[in-house]
Amino acid sequence: MSEVKYSKEHEWIKLEGDTATIGITKHATEMLGDIVFAELPEKGTSVEKDGTAGVVESTKAASDVYTPVSGEVVDLNQSIVDDPSKINQDPENSAWFFKLKIKDKSEMDTLMNKDEYDIFAKESSS
């Protein structure tokens, strides 16, 4: 069973066992516009909940990517660094950013489910 949750910073997180896959939401990509640069954390580093764990840049501006939970970076999606436009094309699936071995599963409880996030995204863009 996998569980997908969402953060107020517009990241999605999918938990399978104790491995979490993290990316940015479709709503985030629509707000950003064409993404032309992506930077990921280094493999093996530890990241803390709500800390920065990457950068995306559109033609307009740079934005930090935050990690919604704490853990150790175990895998990176190099394909989005090589071709950042993939993030616009498939943000919530193949264009994931990084995978974490998570420290504390209870951190997932602080995040929104799909319905809650959809309402939050709608309100935050109006």
Binding site: D34, V36, F37, V55, T59, A61, A62, N88
Partner: protein, 367 residues
């Protein structure tokens, strides 16, 4: 103050524009296809830009006016032919740039196109210098539409016959449905194209006709990536009151004849800088890899000394990589000089390069 809207506002809305406030106007930053696609469409086809927020200043007068304007602009206006245009600057006594502009000789006077954010101040300065001797109209009744890209000549000519005969940096009056339209072959994208001055009431209908012929609306976002790839300056970024045309590496726009004689505003400093050089100068900068260096990014030399600052930086869709412009100390301004850009606390390698990043395809002579 209320935010102003151009005559194309409804059309922008109908075209699903995302808006941004720019110089007191509600302007489209992009439409539904996004900046990169709009940029590519302009390079390959034909893009329409609403630039009605820019100032259209008409000044009417004869020989006296030419003399008086030569005391202001570093141009050989006496020899500027009817319907020909020149790029120039309104400068302070110390040659600081108040605005960069295009001045065109028209029948009975001159038409000057000014930046939106500068136009009110420019008018005040020029009114102060020219007093009430000439009729001066900062015309709010006219819109300005640019059409840019390789297919623009064909599209515009199918709507207004004869525009294909215009040479680069020249213009003429045309008539369409009883409306007087002034068209110049010019632009701000590095592509062949035109700027069309027409009455506000006709702007919407006219633009929809261009769209029917296959041109697409392009927002300010792509306008910025296009001009940056073309190595063109943007006021408030590359140009300001603290920069002179020589520092901005725009000395080509200053008439050599006028330099010899002097006697225009700022001529002392310009002459001095042309003779002695400047301490900092505008250059093109190509970052290595994909890192984007935005405005205010600090520039370092190989010995880790700060030597300048980025004034504009973005991702260039046609270059398929990052591009930037900035000012560096003169000794580091040579082509291929290795520099470093500090982005998010890390120094990234980059190279000083020639401008433009993207080669122009302006039409020089069609006749």
């Amino acid at each position: 103050m209320d935010i102003k809207k151009t005559s194309l506002y409804q059309l922008h809305q109908d075209s699903k524009a995302k808006f941004v406030e720019f110089a007191g106007y509600q302007m489209p930053i992009q439409y539904s296809e996004g900046i990169v696609e709009e940029h590519r469409f302009t390079r390959n086809h034909s893009g329409i830009f609403d630039v009605s927020h820019m100032g259209q200043l008409f000044i009417y007068g004869q020989e006296d006016l030419v003399d008086d304007l030569e005391r202001i602009f570093p141009l050989d206006l006496k020899n500027l032919k009817l319907n020909h245009s020149k790029y120039s600057f309104l400068m302070s006594d110390t040659a600081g740039i108040y605005d960069d502009l295009i001045i065109t000789k028209i029948k009975d006077g001159f038409l000057i196109i000014l930046n939106a954010a500068c136009k009110e101040n420019d008018y005040k300065i020029l009114k102060g210098l020219l007093t009430d001797r000439y009729k001066m109209i900062l015309d709010e009744e006219r819109s300005l539409i640019a059409i840019q890209g390789p297919k623009s000549v064909e599209i515009l000519n199918s709507v207004i016959q004869g525009v294909e005969n215009l040479n680069f940096m020249s213009g003429n009056w045309f008539t369409l449905d009883d409306h007087n339209i002034y068209i110049t072959r010019s632009g701000y994208t590095g592509e062949d194209g035109f700027e069309v001055s027409l009455t506000n009431e006709f702007a919407d209908r006219f633009t929809r006709r261009l769209i029917d012929k296959g041109a697409k609306l392009i927002g300010l976002g792509a306008r910025d990536t296009l001009r940056l790839e073309a190595g063109l300056c943007l006021y408030g970024h590359e140009l300001s009151k603290d920069k002179t045309p020589v520092e901005a590496n725009l000395k080509w726009a200053i008439s050599k004849e006028r330099i010899l004689k002097g006697n225009f505003i700022g001529s002392d400093i310009i002459t001095k800088q042309l003779n002695n050089g400047v301490s900092k100068i505008r250059v093109g900068i190509k970052p290595e890899g994909r890192i984007i260096a935005r405005e205010k990014t600090k520039i370092y030399n190989e010995s880790n000394l700060e030597i300048g600052e980025i004034t504009s930086g973005t991702f260039g869709p046609s270059v398929n990589g990052p591009v930037a412009m900035g000012y560096v100390e003169n000794e580091f301004s040579k082509k291929n000089t290795k520099i470093f850009l500090e982005v998010r606390g890390k120094k990234h390698p980059a190279t000083i390069c020639e401008l433009p990043f993207y080669k122009k395809s302006y039409v020089k002579g069609v006749n």
